[in-house]
């Protein structure tokens, strides 16, 4: 399988603390890969390094786009998004005072170009681009089943809907890799099930690969193609859900060691 996102030996130190050390990971075309691990294992730091919020202390992040390979280290978050990587946040970060539609429209920002001058003159091209943005945003809302709420204010949406809106907004940036940071956090089993189907659906529809951080083991086991397990900043296991389920190291990390007493 051709890799789309490739991370080689990524490390991130905060002073003497090795938050992430020597993580290597690939996400292939059309794959759903999960990154799991106990709290504080460094998963979110890893995400932040990949998406440019932190600069990695060592290692490489590579994005393969067809024949072209781009090195993402040191690039700003908005440049990385423009190159085709989109993310959601662990604690939802929508634009709370804006409408649902506007939230998704903003995601199109890096794919459109009207500037200040275009805004003031409102030429035919600007208006066309704007209507196109609205249409696409509305389409995306339809695919996460939020199109009926397009005019409501984002902060007034129920929790699960806010999560879906965040995914729609990420999709609007036209990504080839979608990074989901604990998308099922705070959801009930039914909503989790729904989310799982949604992610599978959009992967197919928009031809994406997905990297997700998740705590819900049921969800991870049933939807991922491959799983990486992190503990104390390093990767302790990698494999298919079946392999991970029986990996003694993982069991130890999650459940602790059997004591002899």
């Amino acid at each position: 399988m051709k890799p789309v996102l490739e991370v080689r030996g990524l490390s991130r130190f905060f002073g003497g603390l090795k938050a992430v050390s020597e993580i290597s990971l690939t996400v292939g075309e059309h794959e759903i890969v999960a990154l799991v691990g106990p709290n504080g294992a460094g998963k979110t730091t890893f995400f932040n390094c990949v998406t440019g919020i932190y600069t990695p202390s060592a290692g490489d992040v590579l994005l393969h786009n067809g024949e072209k390979t781009t090195r993402l280290n040191g690039k700003k978050p908005h440049q990385i998004t423009a190159l085709g990587m989109a993310r959601t946040f662990q604690n939802i970060r929508l634009f709370p005072g804006m409408t649902v539609l506007e939230n998704v429209m903003l995601g199109r920002h890096c794919r459109t170009k009207a500037g200040v001058l275009g805004a003031l003159l409102r030429s035919a091209a600007t208006r066309r681009e704007e209507q196109d943005t609205v249409d696409r945003a509305y389409e995306l809302l339809r695919s996460v089943n939020l199109h009926n709420a397009y005019a409501s204010t984002a902060k007034n949406l129920p929790y699960g809907a806010q999560r879906r809106l965040e995914i729609a907004r990420a999709l609007a940036t036209g990504p080839s890799v979608l990074l989901l940071d604990e998308p099922a956090a705070g959801m009930n089993p039914f909503e989790t099930r729904e989310l799982e189907n949604l992610v599978k659906e959009i992967r197919k529809k928009y031809n994406l690969c997905v990297l997700l951080i998740e705590h819900d083991m049921n969800m991870v086991m049933s939807m991922s193609d491959r799983i990486y397990v992190m503990e104390h900043g390093s990767c302790i296991a990698e494999g298919t859900p079946e392999q991970i389920r029986h990996n003694p190291k993982v069991i130890k990390a999650y459940l602790g060691e059997e004591s002899d007493a």
Partner: protein, 411 residues
């Protein structure tokens, strides 16, 4: 509930009486060396505070219960809420106001017209600042500096090169843009309080430079005898030229409103609002925040530059005292009181803040006191400002489809 309120109010009034006793209650008679104890005044003060505190706590209780402060009949409330959406009101009211503004200089005195000119100038300034503070949520405290750059550009270009108003208007804007760009480039990486402090410093630097470079700028004496704007070389009386400036400023304000509303509803405007809502998410969604901020900053300083040139032409005399921090604070409070990002609200707030002191001269001693009280009350009871920012309506695909279907049906 009532008992608690009574207790709190009594406590407040006692506390106030104790605090103000040395100031209000003791009067020294230096001639006879006796002390007059003014217990009557203290008692009056205590009673006053008691009533106010009762009212204050009552307001809070109503608010905690989610009740409106004054219960109006349903009919009145419903009419008030539906008014803005009625087409007659939406089109009619602005038309009436515009007609009134157009006719004003013909019926009012020069004095009144002059007051209106300065109010309109402030509307222009406040709308300009609204781009950065209201839309993008970046706190800028030294806005008067850009205003000064515009005004001094005209003043100095006239003094040294004899350039006229119409040549200087774009040049003043350009000078302010350059100043905005030079300041913006290094500091826009800062957030919140830090940006506020740096811009505050910039405002002071510009003012002090204008003061200290006396041989260039005239120092504290400023520049005088700046010509009023000309109209194809026509000779005009003071009366006529005031009317002329009035229409000029009115035109500028209308242009500002068009520009700001277009900007607000554009791709850049959307990015600015997203920046205000959540900067990290905004950048993660592919917005080059530095660039967007910089363009807002530049446009906002450009507007201050224009306003500065017009100001210099209107007063014919400028000095650094017109561009103090008070000025920046005044413009900022217009934006905050009006409602961050709302054009209607900012226009109303600017008009009220400039016109009210002019027509309430009787209360001029209490001006700052009233101003402070209004600010505090607004922040507690209506932090979103007079008018909360209105959201634009978009035409979604299905609506467009039905619109074309309707057209086909009728055809």
């Amino acid at each position: 509930m009532f008992k608690q309120r009574l207790l709190k109010a009594a406590l407040a009034s006692v506390w106030f009486m104790v605090l103000t006793f040395p100031l209000m209650g003791i009067q020294l008679n230096r001639v006879e060396n006796v002390i007059h104890w003014r217990f009557d005044r203290i008692a009056m003060l205590g009673a006053g505070i008691f009533v106010l505190a009762m009212l204050w706590h009552w307001c809070f209780e109503r608010r905690a219960l989610g009740l409106p402060l004054i219960k109006l009949p349903d009919k009145v409330v419903n009419t008030a809420y539906s008014l803005p959406s009625r087409p007659l009101f939406r089109r009619g009211l602005p038309a009436v106001i515009l007609m009134g503004m157009l006719l004003m200089p013909m019926v009012s005195s020069i004095y009144q017209t002059n007051i209106m000119i300065s109010a309109l100038l402030y509307v222009m300034l406040a709308l300009g600042l609204n781009i950065v503070v209201g839309l993008a949520g970046q706190l800028v405290l030294g806005y008067a500096a850009f205003y000064a750059v515009g005004a001094y550009t005209y003043g100095m270009l006239y003094e040294y090169f004899g350039l006229t108003f119409w040549v200087c208007l774009p040049l003043g804007g350009l000078a302010a843009v350059i100043a905005g760009f030079l300041l913006g480039l290094p500091v826009l990486g800062l957030r919140g309080d830090y940006l506020a402090i740096v811009t505050l410093g910039f405002g002071e630097i510009v003012r002090l430079l204008l003061l200290s470079q006396a041989d260039l700028t005239g120092g504290p004496a400023g520049i005088s005898n700046i010509p009023r704007p000309g109209f194809f070389g026509m000779e005009m009386s003071l009366d006529q030229v005031t009317t002329y400036i009035y229409y000029l400023v009115l035109g500028a304000v209308l242009l500002t409103i068009v520009v700001i509303s277009r900007l607000k509803n554009s791709r850049v405007g959307l990015a600015l609002q997203a920046l205000r809502e959540d900067e990290i998410a905004c950048e993660a969604m592919g917005v080059n925040t530095t660039r967007v901020k910089l363009s807002a900053f530049v446009l906002c300083s450009c507007w201050a530059g224009f306003a500065g040139v017009i100001f210099a032409a209107k007063t014919t005399y400028i000095n650094p005292a017109s561009f103090t921090f008070m000025e920046s604070a005044m413009i900022l409070s217009m934006v905050v009181l009006g409602g961050m990002g709302s054009i209607t609200g900012v226009v109303i707030a600017a008009m009220v803040l400039i016109l009210a002191p002019e027509y309430l001269r009787a209360f001029s001693e209490y001006r700052m006191l009233l101003f402070g009280a209004i600010m505090v009350l607004m922040m507690i009871f209506r932090p979103q400002g007079i008018v909360s920012s209105e959201r634009r309506r978009y035409r979604i695909p299905s609506e467009r489809q039905s619109a074309t279907e309707n057209k086909e049906l009728s055809a």
